[in-house]
């Protein structure tokens, strides 16, 4: 190996690739894809639930299994009827509703609640992340807009999650429909998606997000006024230190005029 080859090898070993993208291009790309990425983020939780529902269907397949939630001696149990030998995950017939496997697979009331809660957190984190990225790269987006959008998104995702939870729990608690293992998850997905859409429509109709952004802007203006007033008074007391005594001293009626 000659010196030139050695140099090339050393250089390639210490090579670091840095891609520099102009801010304009990044902003254009972000604007073009923002809506799609946000929509996709909103669908992460339903997709997760669908994967879980598919796992449950694979687990219980066509076997005539039946799921019942019953209370024995003050403890709630999920009871699987049918052929336990054909199952891979739930090999037993009776599990506590708090059993980690039951909760992880979103079976029973606790499992459904945990799944919905996880979906809510994941969606909020993703949506907030997208908004913050947008705020960082764009000069046109101010803090009020960022806070207003995130607040509106969190409220909408929260209400959707509550509606999805109610639907999932209702199907799970129904004596007849509760026996369909994937039923609560499918109901939760459908209601979550629909509630999100309905809330988006209400928002654009009444302008809730716009009102929130304006409220944050007004709060910012008021805070700036308070800051300005405080600075003005500090400046006044610096120039007139005797006025401080007037603030904390005895009233002039007792001090004879001073």
């Amino acid at each position: 190996m000659n010196a030139e080859e050695k140099l090339v090898q050393e250089l390639s070993q210490n090579e670091t690739v840095i891609q520099v993208i102009p801010l304009d291009e990044l902003q254009q790309e972000a604007s073009a894809r923002n809506a799609t990425v946000k929509t996709t983020a909103g669908f992460v939780a339903p997709i997760n639930d669908t994967i879980l529902a598919a796992k449950l269907l694979r687990e219980f397949g066509q076997a005539p299994s039946q799921l019942v939630v019953n209370t024995y001696k003050g403890k709630k149990y999920v009871i699987f009827k049918g052929q336990s030998g054909t199952r891979k995950i739930f090999r037993g017939t009776r599990y506590l509703t708090s059993n980690p496997t039951v909760v992880r697979m979103a079976v029973g009331p606790r499992g459904i609640a945990k799944s919905v809660k996880g979906g809510f957190v994941l969606t909020v984190v993703l949506l907030a992340g997208i908004e913050i990225f947008d705020y960082v790269i764009k000069d046109t987006k101010n803090l009020s807009k960022l806070l207003g959008t995130i607040t509106a998104d969190v409220m909408k995702v929260g209400v959707s999650s509550i509606a999805a939870l109610a639907a999932g729990l209702a199907i799970g608690a129904s004596t007849a429909l509760g026996s369909i293992v994937a039923g609560p998850l499918i109901a939760a997905i459908a209601v979550g998606v629909i509630t999100g859409f309905v809330l988006d429509k209400i928002d654009s109709r009444i302008g809730a997000t716009a009102a929130l952004i304006k409220a944050y802007e007004d709060t910012g203006l008021k805070l700036r006024e308070v800051e300005y007033d405080a600075a003005r008074w500090l400046d006044y007391f610096e120039r007139n230190p005797h006025a401080i005594r007037r603030l904390f001293g005895m009233p002039s009626i007792f001090t004879g005029g001073y």
Partner: protein
């Protein structure tokens, strides 16, 4: 949740389903009529047809009332499959209608413009205004 409350919630979603499905059908008819009438401006939300997903509660109700969920019923073992197939059909319907309307807009020469009233959105789809004379 008690079974009684659960049934009330299920009945509620069944009834709300009529409203939402009615809205989606009405939107489909209105948009298509507006395209045929060559309206200059047509507001359209590509997420509207996902409202059809609420019909999953009708499938639940049909499964319940048809007696399929009774232990001795021979179709009971297929109840999960019927439910998932129904859900898949509703998803296909929502996406199919959306594709059809978007294609209809394009073939009629409409141009998709942003809807300024929409600031933040969490659900699937996009609210747009289709214009004949450009944005």
């Amino acid at each position: 949740m008690s079974p009684k409350t659960a049934n009330i919630v299920i009945v509620f979603f069944n009834l709300v389903g009529f409203l939402l499905v009615g809205y989606a059908i009405n939107d489909f008819i209105t948009v298509n009529s507006a395209i045929s009438a060559r309206a200059l401006e047509i507001p359209y939300d590509s997420g509207t047809y996902y409202l059809f997903l609420i019909a999953i509660f009708w499938i639940f109700t049909i499964l319940h009332w048809s007696g399929i969920l009774q232990t001795e019923h021979k179709l009971k073992r297929y109840s999960s499959t019927i439910l998932v197939a129904g859900f898949a059909c509703l998803l296909i319907l929502a996406n199919g209608l959306n594709y059809y309307v978007s294609h209809h807009f394009e073939s009629a020469g409409y141009i998709e413009c942003d809807d300024p009233t929409e600031i933040s959105r969490i659900s699937k789809g996009e609210s747009s205004i289709y214009r004949l004379n450009g944005c």
